[in-house]
């Protein structure tokens, strides 16, 4: 039964966008105002209205004025709660979307800021992909909602439609507004789980080239000729002589020259996932790598920036 309702709603949203108040994509930040906040009674609200009707007819029938007054008071208070629900959403600002990195198939972590200039907003609910997040927005501040978004494919993942709504204060009315920000999250390609190592050319010219390590191994006495920036100045101040940070030289590793065309007999997606695995392995083992793609070349380097640049290029391969 709920499945049928959902399907009906989905159909209505597809065919009757203006009736379902579905909004086109729009840039962040989104400012909620009265033209885009809608209110309907909830199921409980409808039930309560029926009950109020019964109470009204009963008190009129028995000409019991005290009961009529009670009914009127209850009715007016609950009807007024509609405006309170509206005021929860009115003036909210939704902005500041931040996305983590994720690979296709893994959930991507997102955070969204919901801010209010005046008034504390109680029990604001955010529906994303059938999950609901409840939070309170402090007056003059903002609340950050963090949520995971499932991913399936590499490339740009458009942010799904979100619904900001509230049933505050009595749960009898629901005020809501659709958010459809024109933002997308980049999803990196999925790395294959098993596969061969990249081709390493024998007799690399770079082999044995001394490289400055960057991991602290030990401290030792200063010897003339040590570079000045390796002196541990703060420690030396508490010591008689100068101390020098002896930096370990990691075992020399081959640089990987990763090439799109170096693989034969593979389709594009397999190439991408293999390259992604190689780049991951290279980063994890501290190697340097270069990446050659049909439409670009990333020179030999290492570090996070290089990694993200390469992965982005892979993610956005057509």
């Amino acid at each position: 039964m709920p499945g049928r309702v959902q399907r009906l709603v989905a159909w209505a949203e597809r065919r009757l966008p203006s009736l379902t108040r579905l909004r086109r994509r729009e840039p962040l930040p989104i400012h909620l105002h009265r033209r885009r906040i809608y209110i309907v009674p909830t199921g409980f609200g409808l039930g309560f209205a029926v009950l109020l009707g019964v109470m009204l007819v009963g008190s009129l029938n028995y000409s019991n004025n005290a009961a009529l007054m009670l009914t009127c008071l209850l009715g007016a208070a609950t009807a007024g709660s509609m405006l309170v629900a509206f005021r929860v959403l009115n003036g909210l600002t939704i902005g500041g979307l931040r996305a983590g990195t994720a690979r296709a198939g893994e959930p991507v972590r997102l955070s969204l800021d919901v801010g209010a200039t005046q008034r504390e907003r109680m029990a604001v609910r955010l529906d994303i992909e059938r999950r609901e997040f409840v939070f309170t927005v402090p007056a003059g501040g903002k609340t950050t909602v963090e949520f995971d978004l499932p991913t399936a494919f590499r490339g740009w993942l458009p942010l799904p439609r979100m619904r900001l709504h509230s049933r505050w204060p009595f749960g009898m009315f629901r005020a809501w507004s659709w958010l459809n920000p024109d933002r997308a999250v980049l999803v990196y390609p999925r790395a294959e789980s098993l596969g061969p190592k990249p081709f390493e050319p024998e007799g690399d010219a770079d082999r044995g080239r001394p490289r400055a390590g960057d991991e602290l191994a030990a401290l030792r006495e200063y010897r003339p000729g040590d570079p000045r920036r390796q002196i541990a100045w703060k420690l030396s101040a508490r010591h008689h002589g100068l101390l020098v940070k002896d930096l370990e030289q990691p075992a020399p590793q081959e640089d990987w020259r990763l090439d799109w065309d170096g693989m034969h007999g593979l389709d594009d997606e397999s190439r991408i996932s293999r390259l992604a695995r190689w780049i991951d392995e290279a980063r994890d083992s501290g190697r340097r790598w270069s990446l050659r793609l049909p439409d670009g070349y990333f020179d030999i380097a290492q570090g996070d920036e290089h990694y993200h640049r390469c992965m982005t290029a892979l993610a956005l391969r057509p």
Binding site: M55, S59, N61, N65, A66, M69, C72
Partner: protein, 662 residues
């Protein structure tokens, strides 16, 4: 696909938080309390115990009560209600069952849905408490019951309701209720009342609280100790003196040797002819008696709407008085009732049961002989007898088998009904047509609010004798024994004999009660007595003498629209952030937006105004000046100095941008 969907849907509803459950318990407790007055005491105690134990059990982390506990409890409740009332239908058993079920519902309230259902029906149960008593205090208490109910709903929505302060829960609800008062008052005034009920009014099954249509010695005592108000009367002119405030309810013709009752024959005849002189206008509101009798100030000249005059010129309502009945009437203070007596009526009013009161008959016969049939003289001798040898007390000795003789010659003490009964007997025995009249006499004159409060304890019995040429004449034998009863009222009469409740004797308490009654009177007249008739007159000040349902609906709609507009204004009003300089800047932005240049969210004032200057070359100088002024005022100081704000404002006002033609 369906499997996946189901697995998403199975997200169980969160359990009620401790705070929500506390609130729910509080609401239910309040509801039981409101109903406690008419529930049997053991049921109240049992329900309270169930409430407390469930609350404690859930505090300790307990879950729903199992079915083997719930079902027997429901059965037990059903059995208890049926044993107590004999049925499940009707006002008392129905409400007892409903309240019990609601409390038992708490046993299985674990989720939000249960709490919502419980609260909705608790609201209904609160209302049903008003069917029993719609007095001022009861109404206020019941209305207070809304507060925990709405607060419970509120905690259901709260993100993190486990706060320590209870005030945080109740104050917003109180504010919401306060804000709802104007609309609810408006609705109360203009919701069209039904002139006749859609279905039968509840069979109260309550015993009649007012006068009974039978008078036997001792029967009236219950009534005379009942201090609740019977009716309230306002007079158009000066109120009549206490001694002539007789409200007739019943006349009783038939005496069976023990008690008096109205004759059945009298109901079939048309109202007796009466000639009367000046009349006094007054307005009465009668408390519900669940009976049809309408006490009228002596003597009723015509029947108010919805009532009918009976043959003896007492008045009966067409329907039982189940709610406050208000009407205006005219009373004749001097009159001649039934100047010529029909033979049948004369016979009825001379009839005496065989064998009762032989000594009394002999005494009466001696009076008749000595006065040669002059009714007035007979009356005088009887009153003289009472005055000389009898005493007034609310606690007389019990009477023997022959009540009349026993009273007249043995105990010689009693109160109004003894005197009226014996007097009427004597009159009949002496050949003077006579009957007993019951009703109210006296009452408390409230000087501040200028109305007469008649309590049930003001119930009184007297006699009417028929005298040639004068018709029926009221004779109050009690006044011969104890004039204070008639001149000062029941309380004064009882005071000297210690028969009344000690507490009620305290003058200040009585005073307080009388003052409090002013409020009750106001409530009864203004709120409870506000019926279809009064509603029709609601628009009289606006020139609509008789408001129809459509008029009322129209006014109701207009008023609701106005109130909703006010509320919408409140809801939509948003104070703008910032100081005076910001306000001017807002205005400038509005003007420029109209001219086609609107500020982007990521644009600072300098860039925005520069862009505007490029887009509107006509105003380039002015906009550049504005930009300079704004930057100087905003960033040149910690606080923008007033004079530069004024200058900026003037420059904004001078700007009249015209839409750029693209």
């Amino acid at each position: 696909m369906t499997g996946f969907r189901r697995s998403v849907k199975v997200v169980t509803e969160p359990k009620l938080t401790t705070r929500s459950f506390d609130m729910l318990t509080l609401t239910m407790g309040f509801m039981v309390l409101v109903h406690a007055l008419h529930l049997p005491w053991w049921l109240t105690v049992a329900l309270g115990a169930v409430l407390v134990s469930r609350w404690w059990q859930r505090r300790r982390g307990g879950a729903n009560a199992p079915a083997w506990l719930k079902l027997p409890l429901v059965g037990l409740l059903l059995a208890a209600v049926i044993v107590q009332h004999g049925t499940l239908f009707g006002r008392e058993p129905g409400s007892a069952f409903a309240v019990g079920l609601l409390v038992l519902k708490l046993l299985e309230s674990e989720h939000r849905r249960d709490a919502r259902v419980g609260i909705a029906f608790a609201c209904f149960a609160l209302m049903s408490a008003l069917l029993f008593d719609q007095g001022l205090v009861a109404s206020i208490v019941v209305c207070l019951g809304i507060v925990p109910a709405l607060a419970t709903l509120r905690t259901l929505e709260e993100v993190d309701p486990d706060t320590t302060s209870w005030k945080r829960e109740f104050t917003p609800v109180l504010w919401a209720l306060m804000a709802a008062v104007p609309l609810s008052l408006f609705a109360f005034l203009f919701v069209p009342r039904l002139s006749s009920p859609l279905w039968g009014t509840p069979d109260s099954g309550q015993t009649t609280t007012g006068l009974s249509n039978r008078l036997a010695p001792g029967d009236m005592l219950d009534l005379m100790t009942d201090d609740t108000p019977a009716m309230r009367v306002t007079f158009d002119g000066t109120p009549p003196p206490n001694a002539s405030r007789y409200f007739r309810a019943y006349t009783m013709q038939v005496f069976d040797g023990n008690g008096w009752s109205p004759g059945s024959r009298s109901t079939r005849r048309p109202p007796a002819v009466a000639e009367y002189g000046p009349r006094t206008g007054y307005r009465t509101s009668i408390e519900p008696t669940h009976d049809r009798v309408v006490p009228m100030l002596d003597l009723a000249t015509m029947a108010p709407p919805g009532t009918a005059l009976r043959a003896d010129r007492t008045v009966a309502a067409d329907r039982r008085i189940d709610e406050v009945l208000s009407f205006s009437a005219l009373a004749a203070t001097s009159y001649r009732l039934e100047p010529t007596l029909d033979d049948g009526v004369r016979r009825d009013n001379l009839q005496l049961p065989y064998g009762t009161g032989p000594r009394a008959r002999r005494l009466a016969a001696s009076w008749a002989e000595s006065s040669h049939g002059d009714g007035g003289a007979i009356v005088r001798s009887a009153l003289a007898l009472f005055h000389d040898d009898f005493s007034y007390t609310l606690a007389p000795e019990p009477l023997g088998r022959d009540r009349i003789d026993d009273f007249l010659f043995q105990t010689r003490e009693g109160y109004c009904e003894h005197f009226a009964s014996a007097f009427t007997f004597l009159m009949r025995a002496a050949g003077v047509p006579a009957r007993v009249v019951t009703g109210y006499q006296g009452g408390y004159w409230n000087t501040t609010a200028r109305y007469l409060l008649v309590r049930h304890s003001d119930a009184h019995a007297w006699s009417e004798v028929w005298l040639q040429g004068r018709g029926w004449v009221r004779v109050d034998p009690t006044s011969a024994v104890r004039p204070e009863r008639v001149e000062l009222g029941a309380a004064a009469a009882a005071a000297g004999h210690g028969a009344s409740d000690g507490l009620l004797d305290m003058a200040w308490l009585r005073d307080l009660r009388n003052r409090w009654d002013v409020v009750n009177q106001w409530w009864n007249r203004g709120v409870i007595g506000f019926d279809a008739l009064r509603q029709q007159g609601l628009l009289q000040p606006f020139g609509v003498p008789h408001a129809e349902v459509t008029d009322l609906a129209l006014v109701f709609a207009i008023g609701c629209a106005l109130l909703v507009a006010v509320a919408l204004g409140w809801a939509l009003f948003q104070r703008r952030e910032g100081d005076a300089l910001d306000a001017w800047m807002w205005r400038l932005q509005r003007m420029l937006a109209k001219a086609g240049v609107s500020r982007r969210t990521n644009e600072g004032p300098k860039h925005f105004l520069a862009r505007a200057a490029r887009a509107l070359p006509l105003h380039r100088n002015a906009l550049e000046r504005l930009s300079g002024l704004y930057l100087a005022a905003r960033y040149g100081h910690d606080e923008p100095p007033p004079e530069s704000v004024v200058e900026f404002g003037r420059a904004v006002k001078e700007l009249r941008p015209r839409r750029v033609v693209k």
